[in-house]
């Protein structure tokens, strides 16, 4: 039997070195990823251990908190519907049309995502101090009233809905609506009969995200709507109000309600994603 050649040894060493390097790379990335996940889970677990079913029950019995839950559900649902109503045409036009200033329009649509939330609230407050804003206020009281909650939520939620729907319409080949046009459709028929049904999962995802985003909105609501109990108090405001009076148990209990709602939304989106991957009709 002949002994292995130097070239053979070298290949063996190279392979070992590569395997070692691959393993180190994966371990480093896994540790970094795992530590973030651990941080996320730890915060939720800490919340869970801080509260008890008694605290939760007590919070749910409070008339103020029940009002906040009702207003949150109502305002978030209206915000989600309003966001879809506006985001669908914006996203469709941005995905399909080329026009001068499209880059600028695209950047403007991101403003609510990048602006600090307090600045959004302040800007809304100032807008309704201008003559056109005051004119609207004479017909419908907005500032420090329920419509201001919806408008503050809508400003941010709609931007997220636009981003989601833009990606959805970008993924639907224009060929589909072109075929519909040759089959006898007008542009509007092609949109309602082909594009929108094909975008249904994206529309549902955008609506759900807008709802969840609206539920978590706090900064713009605090500035533009105030934090008046039985008037403009939503769940995020409740957490702030309960914290400010030192009632940490109630703040954590309400936070957990919001966590439960967020988890339900995430599960809904994941289920939709799974449906999409399986190609099943909804």
């Amino acid at each position: 039997m002949t002994s292995p050649s130097p070239a053979h040894d070298e290949r063996g060493n190279d392979a070992r070195r590569l395997r070692h390097s691959d393993r180190t790379f994966l371990i480093c990335f896994s540790v970094l990823a795992g530590s973030y996940l651990l941080l996320l889970v730890s915060t939720l677990v800490a919340d869970l251990f801080y509260t008890s079913p008694g605290h939760l029950w007590h919070a749910l019995q409070s008339a103020e908190i029940r009002y906040a839950i009702r207003l949150s559900l109502l305002s978030c649902t209206l915000t989600a519907l309003l966001s879809l109503w506006v985001a669908v045409p914006i996203a469709y036009l941005m995905a399909r049309l080329k026009f001068p200033g499209k880059g600028l329009a695209d950047a403007l649509l991101d403003i609510p995502i990048v602006l600090p939330p307090l600045v959004i609230g302040l800007s809304l407050l100032i807008l309704f101090q201008t003559p056109p804003g005051r004119a609207v206020e004479r017909w419908i009281p907005v500032t420090y009233a329920v419509p201001s909650v919806i408008l503050a939520q809508f400003m941010v939620a709609c931007a997220f809905a636009v981003r989601t729907l833009r990606a959805t319409f970008d993924q639907i080949s224009p060929r589909h609506e072109q075929v519909a046009l040759t089959l006898g459709c007008s542009r509007s028929q092609a949109f309602w009969m082909v594009v929108l049904p094909e975008a249904r999962r994206g529309v549902l995802t955008a609506g759900t995200l807008a709802w969840a985003r609206a539920l978590g909105e706090f900064g713009p609501i605090l500035v533009f709507s105030g934090a008046t109990r039985f008037k403009t108090e939503v769940l995020s405001t409740t957490v702030f109000l309960e914290l400010s009076v030192g009632n940490l148990e109630a703040a954590v209990a309400v936070s957990l309600l919001m966590v439960a709602a967020a988890v339900a939304v995430l599960l809904l989106i994941r289920t939709q994603g799974l449906d999409s991957a399986l190609g099943r009709p909804l």
């Binding site: 080949s173 060929r175 589909h176 072109q178 075929v179 519909a180 046009l181 040759t182 089959l183 006898g184 459709c185 007008s186 028929q189 009969m193 082909v194 049904p197 094909e198 249904r200 190609g279 099943r280 009709p281």
Partner: protein, 218 residues
């Protein structure tokens, strides 16, 4: 009949200038040319999906240059079929007829005819996601022919198919003319496919069209 008179059409910086050719009624024209030569752009212009910069397009003796796609009466089968993911095979065959407000019974009869001819009877209630490449193209063809158009435009309908499916669809396409009398314009890269189907061969080369009549069709 398909007739193009000095048609200029472009996408961005690319332009096809003063293209002219004519296909008589009931002809099966196959358009060949290199990738990027502008075959699909020309087909889109004929279908009304891309506006022309100059020239006139006539279909069945009618000037359609300024008509929207819906008013041109063209059946269009794009590459990969482009089936609608939310409709069943039956709904695809009904789509153009529902738009045209045909009576329910007339639609049922027409869908039955198409399904029998294209071998889609067992697939009528299936969604497009589970269909094979050949089945997808048969549905796309049935959808395009459902409203009995005078012109059928096919954009590389066989390019994504395996050999067996390709032979099956070729046989269906051979029957299209005799069965429907439609004027066909078919884009392909495949010379064997062109020679089998074409009675007029159009070659798009350096921005102009050469017309050849294959020997088998003379």
């Amino acid at each position: 009949m398909i007739s193009l008179e000095r048609v200029t059409v472009g996408v961005g910086g690319f332009e096809l200038r003063e293209i002219s050719f004519s296909l008589r009624s009931g002809a099966y024209g196959v358009l060949m040319g290199r990738t990027g030569s502008g075959k699909t752009t020309l087909l889109e212009a004929i279908c009304g999906l891309r506006s022309v910069r100059a020239g006139r397009i006539r279909l069945q003796s009618q000037d359609v240059t300024d008509l929207p796609p819906a008013a041109r009466g063209i059946g269009f089968v794009p590459q990969e079929g482009a089936l609608f993911s939310h409709l069943t095979v039956r709904q695809h065959l009904e789509f153009a007829l529902v738009i045209r407000k045909w009576e329910r019974e007339r639609i049922r009869v027409r869908v039955g005819e198409l399904a029998e001819w294209l071998g889609l009877e067992a697939l009528l209630d299936r969604m497009p996601q589970g269909l094979s490449g050949g089945e997808t193209q048969r549905v796309a063809l049935g959808r395009a022919l459902s409203f009995q158009p005078g012109v059928l435009c096919l954009d590389e309908p066989l390019s994504a198919l395996d050999d067996d499916s390709r032979a099956g669809i070729c046989a269906v396409l051979e029957g299209v003319r005799t069965r429907t009398g439609v004027t066909v314009l078919h884009i392909t890269h495949n010379l064997a496919e062109a020679e089998r189907l074409a009675d007029t061969l159009l070659r798009l080369h350096h921005g102009s069209i050469d017309i050849q009549i294959p020997s088998a069709s003379r």
